[in-house]
């Protein structure tokens, strides 16, 4: 075989792998930068976007920048509360919309999509108009109301999908096997819909934690983490923001890996039947 043919063959065999690696690189470079910069010591330099010296200072003193940890706490608090409220209301709404025939059901199904479809800036400003005109003081409560609102439709859609895919014979089988309505719900329906509910909760949390536009319009004097970063970016982001970013990334990757390992364990069990 000629050297050219050999090279050609090598390229042919590795091109998909190479492209795949490129795509992965493209996706992970920003994260790698965040992780790297969390160990950066910018010194007295104004340019905080250049890596100068390695330091653990940022990790040892994550709360050094004034107001940052407070904003993280606020974001976490709102995220958790909004997730809990939206998940409970949204799950109940999904059950109602899937399980009950009522006038206007298809209309309700369409309307529930609207918050997902409409631009955030529109929703944010209309909420602001609502709060101002009804003289609700802007702050924690208004942010929470806004977050629950936009999380709701995601929860409804996610749980609905899971519920629609549920074989209703299972509930009939439970009733047939002497489980009354309450037992049927808690022993069969709920455990089977739970993955959908958990997925919806995770999605809600990340949407809430992440939101800037709607939050910024309805926050009043409060500052959430995205607002803090946005504000700080004008003067140069403190390196500790990268620490928070890295921690969030680690939590997310742990969740994903845990789920993947669990799936593999189940798949292996399936294979060895």
């Amino acid at each position: 075989m000629s050297p050219i043919a050999r090279t050609w063959r090598w390229i042919r065999e590795h091109v998909v792998l190479a492209l795949g690696l490129l795509v992965l690189t493209y996706m992970f470079v920003p994260i790698a930068v965040v992780v790297l910069m969390s160990f950066n010591d910018p010194g007295k330099s104004k340019n905080v976007y250049t890596f100068r010296h390695f330091t653990l200072h940022n990790w040892m003193h994550p709360c050094a920048p004034a107001g940052m940890c407070h904003s993280v706490g606020l974001s976490l608090g709102i995220g958790l509360l909004a997730t809990i409220i939206a998940t409970i209301i949204g799950t109940m709404a999904a059950f109602g919309m899937v399980r009950h025939e009522f006038a206007g059901r298809s209309l309700a199904n369409t309307v529930i999509f609207l918050p997902m479809a409409s631009p955030e800036i529109v929703m944010g400003s209309s909420l602001l108009a609502l709060f101002v005109s009804t003289q609700v003081a802007l702050g924690f409560v208004t942010i929470l109301i806004a977050h629950v609102m936009f999380c709701l439709s995601f929860v409804v859609v996610t749980v609905k999908a899971r519920l629609t895919g549920l074989d209703d014979n299972l509930e009939q089988a439970a009733m047939d096997l002497y489980a009354n309505e309450t037992e049927t719900f808690w022993r069969v329906t709920f455990p089977l819909v739970l993955p959908g509910i958990l997925g919806a909760a995770l999605l809600s949390f990340s949407l809430s934690f992440d939101d800037y536009i709607i939050t910024n319009l309805n926050a009043g004097q409060s500052t959430t983490f995205p607002m803090f970063v946005w504000g700080a970016a004008q003067r140069g982001v403190p390196m500790q923001v990268n620490v928070i970013g890295t921690v969030m990334f680690l939590i997310a990757i742990t969740l994903v890996l845990g789920n993947e390992l669990n799936n593999r364990r189940q798949a292996r069990a399936l294979a060895t039947r």
Partner: protein
């Protein structure tokens, strides 16, 4: 819940009707299923057999009529309040519970003592002891089917309902499970009500078959009674195959009824004549029809027809199936066992047909002659 003696635990349906918004699924049916019997509800899809089953299970409420087990009226009882369990067509095993917990589900809901011992015995009966800790998706179709059966059976219901439980299995496994189900039913002695559209399956397993069509019970009886003496064209065609020939009733003659069939007078036993008017369909099963060369002595002192022409011959190994065109233009089916003692007839040959009068039956001419023939 009545848990009295065996005699009072039979199932009664009286004038049960189920109407849905657009149609009536079940039209005022009456049924009595004695305790301990294997009963089959047989019919094509959409005949109302599954709706009937679901009403007994409590998953549908009858529009009118009543359902009783012994002396207890269960017409409006919740599914979990009646001594009835179901093996679902799709099995409906709980995917989040392992096999052991699936089987134990009913016992645990009823706070039954000795759950562990009972579950282990039941798993042994269906030969799944080694699979106890697996989840349902890890089992094969046949194993899942046995779990579904065990899960229902362990509760010792007065009535066990089986909704096409073998439909999802391949032919070989289905045959094996039919025998297995029959064995288990005999062993535990419970009432089984089996819904199926497979006439062979119903005949293999059931003591009594009720043939349903369009929401009504066409005929009920032991498998051989239904097959040998069908009362409607639907039953004649749905259970096996029948030749149905138009005829005019001439009148009774002792234990027989004389019928003119295109110029030939044939006799039919009175007990097998179900025609009310002057016209009727003369029915004869293809394997009861004898075929012979012209003039040959036929070993049947019966209704004799000549002038048939063989139009089709299919050799299927155990038997040969002929289509014979009669002088009046109709093609009759004839099955002959390949005993090896008689020669095969060729296409185009002229033959005589004959059958013993006691095998023929007479049906009412007002009925659709093609009812119950499945289109392929």
């Amino acid at each position: 819940m009545s848990q009295a003696s065996d005699g009072s635990r039979s199932l009664h349906l009286s004038q049960v009707t189920k109407e849905f918004a657009a149609f009536t699924a079940v039209k005022s049916i009456d049924l009595e299923v004695p305790h301990g019997s294997f009963f089959a509800l047989l019919g094509p899809s959409g005949c109302g057999k599954t709706t009937t089953l679901r009403m007994v299970a409590g998953l549908e409420t009858p529009t009118s009529g009543s359902i009783r087990i012994g002396d207890t009226d269960i017409t409006y009882a919740k599914p979990y309040q009646r001594p009835v369990n179901t093996v679902f067509q799709s099995y409906a095993l709980f995917p989040h519970l392992d096999i052991y917990e699936n089987v134990a589900f009913g016992l645990r809901r009823r706070r039954s003592p000795e759950v562990d011992r009972q579950v282990k015995e039941m798993l042994e009966l269906v030969e799944l002891t080694s699979q106890a800790r697996k989840k349902p998706p890890q089992l094969s179709g046949g194993q899942q089917q046995r779990v579904a059966l065990a899960r229902a059976l362990i509760n010792r219901p007065d009535v066990l309902l089986l909704d096409e439980p073998l439909g999802a299995l391949d032919l070989k496994l289905r045959r094996a499970m039919q025998l297995e189900l029959k064995r288990i039913q005999t062993e535990v002695g419970l009432t089984f009500i089996h819904v199926t559209h497979d006439q062979e399956e119903a005949m293999t397993m059931a003591d009594t078959i009720a043939v349903m069509n369009a929401g009504e019970i066409e005929q009920m009886g032991a498998p051989n009674d239904l097959y040998e003496n069908p009362k409607t064209t639907f039953v004649a065609n749905f259970l096996g195959q029948s030749n149905l020939i138009a005829g005019k009733v001439l009148g009774p003659d002792g234990d027989f009824v004389k019928v003119d069939m295109h110029g030939v007078t044939v006799s039919i036993p009175v007990s097998r004549a179900h025609a009310a008017g002057a016209d009727g369909w003369i029915g004869i099963r293809p394997e009861k029809v004898l075929i012979a060369a012209v003039g040959e002595e036929i070993d049947a002192p019966g209704n004799h027809l000549d002038g048939g022409i063989v139009t089709d011959v299919s050799f299927v190994g155990v038997s040969t199936q002929y289509l014979v065109r009669m002088p009046w233009g109709q093609e009759l089916q004839v099955f002959e066992q390949n005993t090896g003692r008689r020669r095969l007839f060729a296409k185009g040959e002229t033959v005589d047909l004959s059958w013993r009068p006691e095998y023929a039956f007479l049906l009412d001419a007002s009925q659709d002659v093609t009812a119950g023939i499945e289109d392929d």
